[in-house]
């Protein structure tokens, strides 16, 4: 599926200017702190107001010229942010299946095994380590089989050995569900193992630096300006 966006947004001092098209592939976003990586993901999720066009999974999500914005709850997203936002009164399992009409136990069990949270399913969030909570939130994002996965440093709290296993698990899941993944990471190993495409952000601009399939180098920011 072809996905495409061309968006601008202004948030405080940051001016976001981003354009890209991509298929159902693994995209790694890097850049310095404050370059707008998280903002880009939040704009794609619809959590921040953006102008421009956004087409995803064959659907229009944003078309400013027509005054159209699809709200986040209708976008069928899978998101993971620095704040895992697990609800403290629900068990891990209930957190993951929150909002689902019925529970696909087979799928849930498999995901839990792949992302190493099987033993945690009946625990409450306060009984989880930061790393465990992060994995639970990742399972929650994937469980609903979203049309896109937007994950902001999903392995930041993981020990190196776990991180390595999670990488390959995530790659397997992405290939199986055939969904686009946009992942923010500072880890060069993440990029090396996972990335089909690499986006680098600088001062709010998205530069599509390395296109591994075509070897083309271009600057999305300049094309827009």
């Amino acid at each position: 599926m072809k996905n495409r966006f061309q968006i601008t947004a202004r948030l405080g001092a940051l001016e976001l200017l981003a354009e890209a098209d991509f298929s159902d592939e693994f995209i790694m976003v890097s850049g310095e702190n404050g370059a707008g990586k998280t903002t880009l993901l939040r704009c794609l999720a619809g959590l921040e107001q953006a102008q421009g066009q956004l087409m995803l999974a064959g659907r229009v999500w944003l078309d400013s010229s027509a005054g159209f914005v699809l709200p986040p709850e209708k976008r069928h997203l899978g998101c993971l942010w620095a704040d895992t936002a697990l609800l403290p009164w629900l068990s891990v399992e209930k957190n993951i299946t929150l909002g689902a009409d019925r529970v696909d136990q087979i799928w849930l069990t498999r995901l839990a095994e792949q992302l190493e949270i099987s033993a945690l399913m009946q625990r409450k969030p306060h009984m989880l380590s930061t790393g465990e909570a992060q994995r639970v939130a990742l399972v929650r994002a994937i469980y609903r089989k979203p049309v896109i996965l937007l994950i902001d440093e999903p392995f930041s709290a993981q020990a190196p050995a776990v991180r390595q296993r999670l990488r390959s698990a995530l790659k397997t899941i992405q290939a199986e569900l055939q969904l686009p993944v946009i992942m923010v990471s500072h880890d060069a190993e993440d990029a090396r193992v996972l990335a089909d495409q690499h986006w680098r952000m600088r001062e709010g601009r998205l530069m599509t630096e390395i296109n591994q399939q075509h070897g083309v180098i271009h600057d999305a920011g300049e094309r827009l300006a």
Binding site: A45, G46, L47, P71, P72, E73, K74, R75, H76, L77, C79, W81, D83, A85, L87, P88, W89, L98, G99, H126, R140, R144
Partner: protein, 223 residues
């Protein structure tokens, strides 16, 4: 005496239930939405806090009088008038205790982390799912405080219920009015007992409020 106490408890219970249902959408609007007339709504909700109860009672009486629109509509459906009835007192009590229900809920909703609301939307929860599965459990402390305060405040009404209810024995004579009349009739031992009971109810309710506030049953703030 016992009769008046039962009426008071019934009034407080019915009022509290109606208030919880009514205050939740109001608190939701005030906590999360910006709209024209928002300040106006907040002022109207808070008005009973500072208004003399007799003023509120007087306006309610005008609103529900047998020749008013509301009064006529009511007596055409039910075969009694709204003024000087239990239902009329419920109507007045709901208005009178509205801020005590809305404000704790509004505060509890405001304390919910934004990330939880964002999670609810990116996980595709509908408005009712968000309300029932995220907002209400997160703000349950506020709901409990709202219920306790509404109940206690309704038990403690005097001016409004006297104005609207008219102190009809066995119908609209609530405990606080009965106490006044007992004192006037110099029945001191009954007055003393009734006053003690009313004091105890308020004490228990406020203890509940302060316990909830200290233990932070609202998950939102910290945890």
């Amino acid at each position: 005496m016992l009769e008046s106490l039962v009426i008071s408890l019934q009034l407080a219970l019915v009022t509290t239930i109606i208030l919880l249902l009514l205050a939740l959408p109001l608190a939701y609007l005030l906590a999360f939405k910006t709209f024209t007339g928002r300040t106006m709504l907040e002022v109207v909700v808070a008005l009973p806090l500072v208004l003399p109860p007799t003023v509120l009672g007087y306006f309610v009486l005008l609103m529900i009088a047998p020749d008013s629109t509301l009064g006529r509509a009511w007596s055409s459906v039910f075969d009694h008038s709204l003024a000087f009835s239990f239902s009329g007192m419920v109507f007045a009590s709901v208005l009178y205790s509205l801020p005590f229900a809305v404000q704790p809920m509004q505060q509890a909703l405001r304390a919910i982390p934004r990330s939880w609301l964002e999670m609810a939307s990116t996980q595709g929860l509908s408005l009712s799912q968000t309300l029932l599965q995220v907002l209400l459990p997160a703000a349950r402390g506020g709901v409990l405080v709202a219920a306790a305060l509404s109940f206690a405040h309704t038990m403690g009404e005097f001016g409004v219920v006297l104005m609207v209810g008219g102190s009809i024995p066995g119908e609209t004579r609530v405990a606080s009015i009965a106490l006044f009349e007992l004192v006037e009739m110099q029945q001191h031992s009954d007055a003393w007992l009734l006053a003690l009971i009313l004091m105890a109810v308020s004490f228990v309710m406020l203890s509940l409020v302060y316990t909830v506030n200290r233990q932070g049953l609202n998950f939102g703030a910290g945890k």
